[in-house]
């Protein structure tokens, strides 16, 4: 089993004596603004017609990490998004934040993918891109919030997954990650190529200035349809029929607030009244 991303080898690129250039793909998702009123449609899918969309803010940390690693290794950062037309906005934002070019995979046949389907399409696009040393992702999307995509993406690519990096760097063809879990702190390392998800503790995303915004307009963005990523799926042993069909939304509705909610202003006895309420509700 190969642990390299198939595609043109990166060996031989860069001039002799230089550090090897690291080619990084950063996965970015377009999501509704978390501060806006978000809703699900009758089909259980997120309504994306509200207009208040942005780059998933947790992906800004992934882009920032990618840009920093690329700067240290004279590498290249490619921003990749799967989604409807507004995926272009996520990629554009990543270009403003320092990625050098973009790839958008968009196709009507890909509407409503689940997390595994999304991961498989991302894996196929990484394979089509070829010669990739490092794939970076955010820790979660603020809409679906499954955190499943990074690990699934690594599994499809047959690469090591290093999830939830609070710190990440690359040296001598090895990626080093520190992660802070509930019960332990872990120091991880793995040979490249690898997939790393980055938390919001990893860095402070930069805020693009006017020049960066102007420069991003000139950066190339390639659009791919499903047919163009099928060769990538095939070389990973996957086929388009596995992209969906695992679940069906039965219903989705707004959470009903409890009807017995209480709001009191403290006149000196609110603490005592709350104690009685907690006992009454059998909560303590």
């Amino acid at each position: 089993m190969s642990t390299r991303v198939p595609g043109p080898s990166r060996v031989g690129r860069g001039s002799p004596g230089n550090l090897p250039r690291v080619k990084i793909v950063v996965a970015v998702k377009h999501v509704p603004d978390v501060q806006s009123t978000r809703m699900l449609g009758a089909d259980g899918r997120l309504r994306r017609d509200g207009g208040d969309g942005t780059l998933n803010e947790l992906d800004e940390n992934a882009v920032e990490a990618a840009v920093q690693i690329a700067a240290a290794t004279s590498g290249e950062v490619v921003a990749l998004s799967v989604g409807p037309a507004d995926a272009h906005d996520a990629v554009r934002r990543a270009l403003q934040l320092g990625a050098s070019r973009g790839v958008v995979v968009s196709d009507e046949r890909l509407v409503g993918l689940d997390a595994l389907g999304t991961a498989a399409v991302l894996a196929a696009a990484v394979t089509v891109e070829g010669g990739v040393d490092l794939v970076l992702t955010g820790m979660a999307s603020t809409d679906g919030l499954t955190s499943v995509v990074p690990t699934a993406l690594a599994a499809y690519l047959r690469l090591p997954a290093l999830a939830l990096a609070a710190h990440v760097d690359v040296a001598d063809g090895t990626v080093h990650v520190r992660r802070e879990l509930d019960h332990a702190v872990e120091e991880l390392s793995a040979p490249l190529p690898a997939v790393v998800s980055v938390t919001d503790a990893a860095n402070e995303p930069s805020f693009p200035g006017f020049r960066a915004i102007m420069a991003a307009r000139k950066k190339p963005v390639q659009e791919l349809g499903l047919d163009e990523v099928v060769p990538g799926l095939t070389s990973l042993g996957l086929d388009p029929s596995m992209l969906g069909g695992r679940t069906r939304v039965l219903h989705a509705e707004p959470q009903q607030p409890r009807t017995d909610r209480v709001l009191v202003t403290d006149d000196g006895d609110a603490g005592v009244r709350l104690a009685a309420w907690l006992v009454d509700q059998r909560l303590v």
Binding site: T3, D114, L145, V249, R261, A275, W277
Partner: protein
């Protein structure tokens, strides 16, 4: 139908509270098989018998890393023909779920609050979009991997205890699953319950202004865990691992008490499944009052000591 449950336990072999909740959730769905990694099973068997686990598949300790555990679970799942694998909705649980679902070609649903079987098909319900919506999906593939929120189900003993059979499983884990070098340093125990699975969580927000003792006293009286907003972690008033929210620990306690917490959407994303939400905040317009079940507009330094003293008094009366 068989459900496979990953029986999380701590280093000395005590099952984590979530493990028995998972077993309780699995029982109405069919036969329950557990999966145990490493040592300490013997001491846990009586508890698993009370919970009605029929078979425990014991894996060697060295498959604990998520990629390796996913491969091992895949082997057990295939051998048992289970159509559902239940794991706890923790960050590591989700990693295992993702890897396993890829190997099994399974549906994966995270952060579930309820799993049912209706006319043979599995249905999973969860709260989404920071607790503002609820959605139910039906699994349409042969296998599902579901991560269940802590405290979504109350752990209860089975109607009749089982006598679990222990099966030692040998698995050959791939090179790939061993390709990450890991140096793991366990955190020191805090003496309080584990935040992610605690039944009661008291969260301190910026309003505490560095004074944690009223929050800690209340939490200790209730046997609860102490959480922090990101601001409180940023200020260094509490350690980062106690941050509750979308980028911190996701909590789902039966009782959440937020004091001096504004209720920002990023915070709500990590506590959307709390059973009852109590808020104490001096600002009547604080967003937390939009979703609190019991809200007090007031100064936390007045309300909290009064609450703690009254609860203590009531307890002494009882």
């Amino acid at each position: 139908m068989t459900t496979l449950v990953l029986l999380d336990h701590d280093d000395d072999g005590t099952p984590r509270p979530a493990a028995l909740e998972l077993v309780t959730a699995a029982r109405p769905l069919g036969e329950v098989h557990g999966v145990w990694v490493g040592d300490g099973l013997d001491a846990a068997l009586p508890g698993l018998a009370d919970a009605g686990v029929l078979i425990v598949h014991r894996l060697p300790a060295d498959v604990w890393w998520p990629a390796a555990l996913a491969e091992a679970l895949h082997a057990v799942r295939s051998a048992t023909g289970a159509d559902l694998v239940l794991l706890a909705s923790t960050s590591e649980g989700k990693e295992v779920a993702a890897g396993l679902a890829v190997l099994d070609g399974a549906a994966v649903v995270t952060d579930a609050e309820r799993v049912e079987r209706v006319e043979g098909a599995l249905r999973v319900t969860k709260s989404v979009l920071a607790g503002t919506w609820v959605s139910t999906v039906e699994v349409t593939s042969p296998v599902a991997v579901v991560t269940l929120e802590p405290n979504a189900v109350r752990a209860e003993p089975a109607a009749a205890p089982s006598s679990p059979q222990v099966v030692d499983v040998q698995v050959a884990v791939s090179e790939l699953a061993r390709s990450v070098t890991v140096v793991r340093t366990p955190r020191q125990a805090t003496g309080r319950p584990d935040l992610a699975t605690a039944d009661v969580v008291v969260v301190a927000g910026r309003g505490v202004d560095g004074h944690l003792s009223p929050v800690e006293e209340l939490a200790d009286l209730l046997g609860g865990a102490v959480g922090a907003t990101r601001v409180v972690a940023d200020e260094g008033w509490l350690p980062r691992e106690q941050q509750v929210g979308q980028t911190g620990v996701a909590v789902a306690p039966r009782l959440y008490i937020g004091v001096g917490v504004s209720g920002a959407v990023h915070h709500r994303g990590g506590m959307q499944s709390a059973g009852t939400v109590v808020a104490v905040n001096s600002d009547p317009d604080a967003p937390i009052f939009e979703f609190a079940d019991y809200g007090i507009v007031g100064d936390l330094f007045d309300v909290l000591p009064a609450l703690t003293a009254e609860l203590r008094r009531l307890r002494e009366l009882a």
